[in-house]
Symmetry: C2
Subunit: 352 residues, 2 copies
């Protein structure tokens, strides 16, 4: 009974618009409970009126379509486990610091999404041959700090990626209707990509023949390494190879004895095949044990049993290696907006 | 209606024992709503059985007493607004980092406490002339990392301080029965002192004739500046002069125009008579406006209207000065356990 009192909460990072972080230290199951799933909004919540809501497919299509909620529910559904991660996750670890919400470890969560294939909608609309991209518009809108006007949250994908069988429009999350806070009634899910691609409160899909230039595509969500590297900004796409110690936490104090170090790893290109822990600041490394099977688009939890007999200060690190031989780096790939942090995580723990 | 969706949450810092931070950026009233009041526990929550609960006064007293809950409720009640602050508040800002829960800005909250005077209980018990200190034992207990055995959370106060009319045993918080998470049925409240003195789930008061040497008095909650300063550890007592910018937050991005900078200040010795803000890294300072009256033992909210016409990067600072002329320092008074951080707070904001 006493145990039920312990209620981890989302970590409030911003209130309007609401930005809330999953408390990674509470990681106990592969699937993030809905009430702890991280929330990253660009604008205040939209009003969704289900009496009028519909999803339109317009633009370079021969048969423009308008799907009502029950039309979508009646279509064939697919189910996919997908980890979503904000590309600003771990931003607070960049040095020098970078602008924006100072996410810690938890702008990442995992759920099972069920919905219709975007492919099926596009085929029904009969996409024209000149089509190049598909834009996705959420119902959330508002002002930006850097340019005048009111903007909807809007992103695009290539036509090819839109036709990929794993690009879905989710209607359910973890087997229940998509929560309003996570995009009800319909959310695009782009597996393997950072979360900005998975547009919430989706209501309008427009097929276009040019390259989409909206501010959430060309101003935000680009890796801009100026002045360090004088290269053109590069669009944010897939989730970087990464690993995280969820517990113990940085500066935690432990007693001598047996401890469990636990966390997650993810990579959207090649699967992670090794996660290693060091307790001596990287001099020696030991492989962790898996708590989950490998599954595409999904984080994988691991644990490592640590028996400490000597009191002292321990500098711990975690690193992941994928099947292509890529390994996380010691140094973060700094960029102006603080995106895609995936340097080796370090924590210090004290054993009394 | 849409506005109600925005629900700031406590910031989870640790789960067992539960340690949760008030999201300072949600500061909207002087009184912290109970569900957002910070939580700092040393041990798992105790089982409280009200059929058997009582508060005993023992030790160097001529008339040992045992008060049941209804006995306390029937006694004269006093009401005091008191800000509680964990002495580890802002610990995460220490450089080098220090061990323990990495609190941000919000291990501090304000409430109105109602209960009986400790004085009245001690007088009823007829304290003996050899009495020197009074110890307070909570029902929460457990193990420590640094020594064997099971310990209750236990602290002491001098007899003189125990007899102070503002040292109370709170039964109500913000006009409602003390929430269980905050120490129901009875919590010692030591106004002006850091929160460790305000023992929760109080059930045993022992008057003693020696100096109490429990680990939460002589091991924890001492300023230990070794190896920097080879002096004896100094007990933690009253809340340091401090001021906090609750919003905007560090690294926040703002549009040009008018903004409100808001926050709190506190001091437990001499009242704060000036809070100043700088937007140019401390070259010029401007006084804030008060949102609250001065009230003993209480934080005081302030705001400062800021009209920004030039885009750029702004290094903001806040500092408080008390009526005795003390001013916050640029540098933190580093100590091993990371207590009492009250250096001038700095944030950087960007204006587009």
């Amino acid at each position: 009974m006493v145990k039920l009192l312990y209620s981890p909460h989302l970590i409030t990072r911003k209130i309007i618009p609401e930005n809330q972080e999953f408390p990674m230290l509470s990681l106990s199951s592969r699937i993030t409970p809905e009430h702890l799933f991280y929330i990253r909004n660009h604008f205040p919540y939209p009003n969704v009126d289900m009496r009028t809501w519909g999803l339109s497919i317009e633009g370079c299509v021969n048969k423009p379509r308008y799907f009502r909620y029950h039309d979508l529910l009646k279509m064939p559904q697919v189910t996919l486990p997908v980890t979503l991660e904000c590309v600003g996750d771990k931003r607070s670890f960049f040095q020098p610091k970078t602008r924006g919400v100072q996410w810690g470890l938890g702008a990442i969560s995992h759920a099972v999404w069920t919905g219709v294939r975007l492919q099926d909608l596009l085929l029904a609309a009969d996409v024209q041959r000149n089509a190049r991209e598909v834009t996705f518009e959420g119902m959330d809108k508002g002002v930006r700090t850097d340019m005048p006007g009111v903007f909807s949250y809007k992103r695009s994908l290539s036509l090819e990626h839109s036709l990929h069988p794993d690009t879905i429009i989710a209607l359910y999350m973890n087997g229940k209707p998509l929560p309003y806070l996570h995009g009800y009634p319909a959310r695009l899910i782009v597996p393997g990509w950072y979360g900005m691609a998975s547009v919430k409160w989706l209501h309008r899909i427009v097929v276009i023949e040019e390259q989409f230039q909206g501010p959430f595509q060309v101003v935000d969500y680009v890796y801009d390494r100026k002045p360090l590297t004088p290269s053109a900004p590069e669009p944010v796409t897939t989730i970087h190879l990464n690993s995280t110690i969820a517990g113990p936490t940085d500066q935690e104090v432990l007693a001598k004895g047996e401890h469990c170090v636990w966390g997650t790893t993810i990579s959207s290109r090649d699967p992670v095949d090794l996660v290693e822990i060091s307790t001596d600041n990287g001099n020696t490394w030991l492989a962790v044990s898996w708590l989950d099977q490998h599954e595409a688009y999904s984080w994988r939890r691991w644990c490592w049993k640590w028996t400490v007999t000597e009191p002292g200060t321990y500098d711990m690190k975690v690193r992941a290696k994928d099947t292509a031989g890529n390994m996380q780096s010691e140094m973060a790939d700094w960029n102006v907006k603080g995106y895609g942090y995936n340097a080796i995580q370090r924590i210090r723990v004290y054993v009394d």
